[in-house]
């Protein structure tokens, strides 16, 4: 009988993931996020700043954790990000979605995809045929089994970060992990 659990990343970072930064970086930070979640929106510029500051010393990974019962646009937003990823535009779309959290309906998602030169056929595959839904679900369940308890949740070298997403808190946890 299990009486205790420790929140650790159960799905290792691999080729399936959206990765920014070198594989040999001393620290890997994985974010589970929801494009319609206001806290994720607030965290994104902080994460960006940290990524710029740390450069090659940090590998950053994003996985989807859409809470669709409270965020009705989050699922399609995640799917369009995956569609953009199939055309090497994942991070551009990721930033665009977080920058436009008040406009995430299908019409706007299509506009964003078009502006990033994602083909219309790909947008249709994502938003009508939902070809990335399984992938988003896999991200979500990997988060659940790792102990994601809300969004955003960060794992730093595989350990859940229970502090805040403020810059100082994340930097301190990253520095600890690098030791």
């Amino acid at each position: 009988m299990r009486t205790h659990f420790s929140p650790k990343l159960v799905l290792p970072v691999s080729e399936r993931d959206h990765i920014s930064g070198p594989a040999n970086a001393p620290v890997t930070m994985v974010e589970y996020g929801d494009y319609q979640c206001p806290y994720c929106g607030l965290a994104n510029p902080i994460v960006d700043k940290i990524r710029r500051e740390l450069g090659d010393r940090l590998r950053f990974v994003f996985r989807n954790f859409p809470l669709t019962e409270v965020h009705p646009y989050a699922e399609h937003a995640a799917e369009i990000a995956e569609a953009a990823g199939a055309h090497n535009k994942f991070w551009e779309m990721h930033d665009m979605l977080y920058a436009h959290q008040d406009a995430l309906d299908d019409r706007h998602l299509t506009e964003y995809a078009t502006s990033l030169s994602v083909p219309a056929s790909e947008v249709k595959r994502a938003l009508t045929q939902h070809v990335y839904a399984d992938r988003v679900r896999e991200d979500f369940m990997s988060g659940v089994r790792s102990g994601v308890n809300g969004t955003p949740t960060f794992f730093i070298n595989g350990v859940r970060h229970d502090g805040s997403y403020e810059r100082e808190s994340l930097l301190a946890a990253i520095a600890d992990a690098a030791r």
């Binding site: 009988m1 299990r2 009486t3 205790h4 659990f5 929140p7 809470l67 669709t68 019962e69 409270v70 369940m141 659940v144 089994r145 790792s146 102990g147 994601v148 308890n149 809300g150 229970d162 502090g163 805040s164 403020e166």
Partner: protein, 182 residues
């Protein structure tokens, strides 16, 4: 109950080691789960024994509307299909009244019952050993009860930390093989 982000770090200390942990301790695995009947809506009551024959998850939380609770209940709401796959019923409990629960559940689009442990106040939380006298609320505590009504797993989270769902899922999965054998 307000939870500041800055409090979360200090609340990582296990509850048993903090000075403000006044509850006597959650009922342990192996204990028969005390039965109860509480209102889920102004005109409906839910009894634990209604669910005998299938596992039940009791999620005690301090209060409707506080940011951490909202996250926790939203998470469980999102994971309901997984709980259902494991044949388990999710039940949330707090000392809030039925009208408060009704408004909260509507706002968050919750699809599982929230029970009002309201009168006599926190009677159920007390019987499960998860009442915080000094706060007037329950702990943030989880119980997984097996199909025969025995507690299989319990966990008291630091008040400011949403415990997530992994512990519940692991406990339910530990239950299912033995249940299938019977």
């Amino acid at each position: 109950m307000e939870v500041e982000l800055s409090d979360i770090g200090s609340s990582l200390i296990p509850m048993s080691e903090t000075k403000d942990a006044k509850s006597k301790g959650a009922l342990a695995p192996g204990t028969p789960a005390p039965d109860f009947s509480l209102h889920s809506t102004p005109d409906q009551t839910v009894s634990l024994s209604d669910f005998r024959g299938a596992p039940v998850i009791l999620a005690f939380y301090p209060a409707d509307w506080s940011p951490v609770c909202g996250d926790q209940m939203a998470l469980y709401n999102q994971i309901l299909p997984e709980f259902r796959r494991l044949k388990a019923q999710m039940i949330g409990l707090s000392v809030d009244g039925v009208w408060c629960h009704t408004a909260f559940a509507k706002d968050r689009n919750l699809h599982f019952p929230l029970l009002a442990d309201f009168e006599p106040k926190a009677a159920v939380a007390r019987r499960y050993g998860v009442y915080r006298e000094q706060d007037g609320t329950s702990e943030r505590a989880l119980f997984v009860i097996d199909s025969k009504g025995v507690i299989a797993w319990s966990y008291v989270s630091p008040l400011g930390v949403n415990p997530g769902a992994e512990g519940i899922l692991a406990a339910l999965e530990d239950l299912s093989p033995s249940q299938e054998r019977k």
